[in-house]
């Protein structure tokens, strides 16, 4: 889904917002206009907070920067509105009657203080959409300068060719601020002096869930004030007027369903949240399902994996499998990591949902942690990890979901860098020129069927070419059944890591104090691939179940969940017939190449 025709206007809108915020003296405003998406796809919610000196606040919007479609007066929210206790000088307006998948521009102004801010947004896709793009981020707390850099980088990413429609949504996995106090929200997330942050939040709806830093003894006061998502069972704390728990909820977004779990409210089997999440996953008809939470079950550390969530995952694994949850998205540990177990042997005794990526995206601004890549201690099942300020992109195209972790750096040394400063408004006076480097891309496919039981897949003719330093062989897939296999057939080389999808990011903070050393991690990481990847702590060094990281299938036509994949045929395999495709490997150590072919019908 692309809105390239509107890219120019979009960029102009972002520049406009950026410039306006840059010249504003912030008169009359404490929280500049920002967006959340509450559903349905004909709506968008704009929020802001005045400093109690406003007269009449007006929200205007349209399909261009004349904002001519409509204009409304938006008074302060009432303190007595159920669920909105504690709001002070907060404005919130849910624009309705919009067209799905359409770019709009808006302006918030005050009769006395002038324009508070401008922004733009793309409405959610139609319910029948089969493709959509959006952003993911987490752990933005504690360092508004870095947060500003990352938001500037994301906005710059929007401006790269073909990326305009990523602007539509960002999901946040928690720890928005260092503490749920009003002062933290004001000086961190909503810091008016961080103009790139203001431009980003004015132009991208951010939906998410709270983290431990947004939480006090299971409850939150300020988080739901500023992010009043449609929580189905928000519960007021006894004796309080504006403090809540049970801040779990879910949303549909085109072909995607995202379920947000409140790790800090009861979620043991039988709890209200557990039952609600189960029913939520059972009810959705969306093909792509993401479960998002803050404290992850399997990360690379160094913040501890959540015991509560591991108990939850143990109980919910059958539910995740039954309802085809595609991946888990969390934060808490301040780095990027992908963990998982492809089979029971790799899982060992750990209660981990099989064949499901456990994504950590916690490099959103908080101090970066060195990942524990050993798989020998408290952080088992790590496959890849990298210490970085980062954000993720998600791209759903029909039966394929592509997610990429992107490192934000100031380095210019690598040719894979994307120099954002050329496409995003000039230096904002705070952050320097920024660069993006892909850390890792993970692709998930929804196949029609796993046809491995009805075929044999054999390799042959393996020859090493000393000149090219590549291994050449063939893979033959024979349909042994009496049933034709129609359409495209792909073979996943299970047991190998798809090195083609791993980037070569630099670590700009390796020699500085930016990274908080992880207890037990004695050295700076130089590889994104964990030791004994995907083995559990109970099966360390079990070579029979470890992913092999030395060999690369260089002619892979794709990947599936981090493993290389090759297209055997696009035209099916009739019963009793075979197809043969070439395989090419690089293998720098010349250690054993090992894989198990799994054959899928597209």
């Amino acid at each position: 889904m692309k809105l390239t025709t509107k890219k120019t206007l979009q960029t102009l809108g972002l520049v406009s917002a950026f410039s306006l915020l840059g010249t504003s003296a912030f008169a009359g405003i404490l929280k500049s206009p920002y967006l959340i998406y509450e559903m349905p796809n004909t709506t968008m919610t704009v929020l802001w907070q005045d400093s109690a000196t406003e007269t009449t606040n007006t929200l205007s919007w349209g399909t261009d920067t004349t904002y001519s479609l409509n204009s409304v007066t938006v008074p302060e929210e009432s303190n007595t509105t159920p669920g909105r206790g504690g709001v002070v000088n907060q404005h919130r307006y849910k624009i309705t009657g919009l067209q799905p998948n359409t770019m709009y521009y808006y302006q918030v102004a005050d009769d006395t203080n002038g324009v508070y801010g401008t922004g733009s947004f793309i409405t959610a896709p139609s319910e029948s959409a089969t493709s959509v793009r959006f952003i993911g981020q987490g752990d933005s707390r504690g360092n508004p300068f870095v947060l500003n850099d990352i938001m500037k980088a994301i906005t710059g990413f929007y401006g790269l060719p073909g990326n305009g429609d990523y602007q539509r949504l960002s999901i946040h996995n928690g720890d928005w601020v260092a503490s749920d106090a009003e002062s933290n929200w004001t000086t961190e997330w909503f810091d008016l002096t961080k103009r790139a942050s203001r431009a980003f939040t004015a132009s991208t709806p951010i939906d998410g869930v709270k983290g431990n830093h947004d939480n006090t003894s299971g409850y939150s006061t300020t988080f739901p004030k500023y992010f009043p998502f449609p929580y189905p069972n928000e519960t007021l704390q006894s004796g309080k007027t504006s403090t809540y728990n049970n801040l779990y909820w879910s949303m549909d977004y085109g072909p995607v369903h995202i379920t947000f779990i409140d790790v800090y409210s009861p979620l043991t089997p039988g709890s209200a949240q557990y039952n609600w999440v189960t029913a939520d996953l059972a009810a959705t008809t969306k093909p792509w399902k993401i479960v998002c939470f803050h404290e992850g079950t399997y990360t690379a550390g160094s913040d501890a994996d959540s015991t509560a969530m591991r108990i939850y995952e143990q109980a919910s694994s059958p539910i995740f499998q039954q309802y085809n949850v595609d991946f888990l998205y969390g934060g808490h540990s301040h780095n990027y990591a992908r963990a998982g177990a492809y089979n029971a042997a790799q899982a060992g005794t750990d209660p981990i949902a099989l064949n499901m990526p456990h994504m950590t995206s916690g490099g959103g601004g908080a101090p970066i942690y060195q990942p524990d890549m050993t798989n020998t201690g408290s952080y088992p099942h790590v496959i890849t990890a990298w210490p970085a300020d980062e954000f993720m992109t998600f791209d759903v195209e029909g039966n394929t979901l592509t997610m990429t972790a992107n490192q934000v750096t100031g380095q210019t040394s690598l040719t894979t860098d994307y120099p954002l400063s050329n496409t995003f408004p000039a230096n904002d006076g705070i952050s320097g020129h920024l660069y993006l480097q892909p850390i890792e891309t993970t692709v998930l496919h929804h196949f029609t069927a796993n046809v491995t039981p009805q075929v044999t897949a054999t390799t042959s003719n393996l020859v090493y070419n000393r000149a090219t330093k590549l291994y050449y062989g063939t893979l033959t897939v024979t349909n042994n059944s009496t049933t034709d296999i129609n359409g495209a057939v792909d073979v996943v080389l299970d047991g190998m890591i798809d090195l083609n999808m791993i980037g070569t990011p630099s670590n700009m903070y390796a020699t500085s104090s930016k990274i908080t050393q992880n207890a037990g991690v004695s050295s700076i990481q130089t590889s994104m691939i964990a030791n004994n990847p995907a083995t559990g702590k109970s099966t360390v060094n079990a070579s029979s179940v470890a992913l092999k990281s030395n060999a690369r299938l260089t002619n892979a036509t794709g990947s599936q969940n981090g493993e290389p994949m090759i297209r055997a045929t696009s035209n099916g395999i009739p019963a009793g017939t075979s197809v043969t495709v070439p395989l090419t490997f690089s293998n720098t150590t010349n250690a054993a190449i090992t894989f198990n072919p799994i054959v899928f019908q597209e």
């Binding site: 054999t458 000149a467 050449y472 010349n590």
Partner: protein, 209 residues
Amino acid sequence: MNFLKIKFLVIAIVMFAASSAFALQSYDVTVDTSSLNGDTGYLYLQYATIDKAVASTATVSGFATDGTLGAQDTVDVVNGSAVSGTLPGSVAFQNTNSINDYNQAITFGNTLSFLVSFTSTPVANTPAVSTLSLGLYGDAFGSTPLLNVTDPSIPGTVAMINLNNDGNTSATSLDATTNVAPVPEPATCALLGVGLFGLCVYGKRRKLV
């Protein structure tokens, strides 16, 4: 049909079936090198493997040529640690590493030939393979192919013989100068012979009756 007849028939059928079921695990490789007669170059043998979980050995024996063998080159191989022996004697390749190779200088004559045989403990339903291949090059590094020169990926390679983990073998010749022919193993021949003998005895007894 008395008990003895039945016994002969069963033995014959079992032996015959066994001789058919056992894969032919030896191959005779013959290369017509007359176009290279008098040229110097290198014979490059390699045993490459996917999944060494099933250990196997490929043995090259019976090497013969009207050319002249030079010295073995142990410098330009990738990994010769799992290779033992020297041509024209037997050379054994174990599938310890993904590549196990052997390089030897030669002044080519009109022909060269050798026998390749395998030993392994087959495991069914595994997709892995070990391939013994022969390449002919004008230099020690494998950058100047002498035959099959236009192959886009493995120029210089003229023969590939596969041993799959299930014990099945197959072979491919990549150049018109090269012939790769399966050779029944002695044990297989013996089984076949016993089976045929049994069938003959059974038939003769039946005829007498």
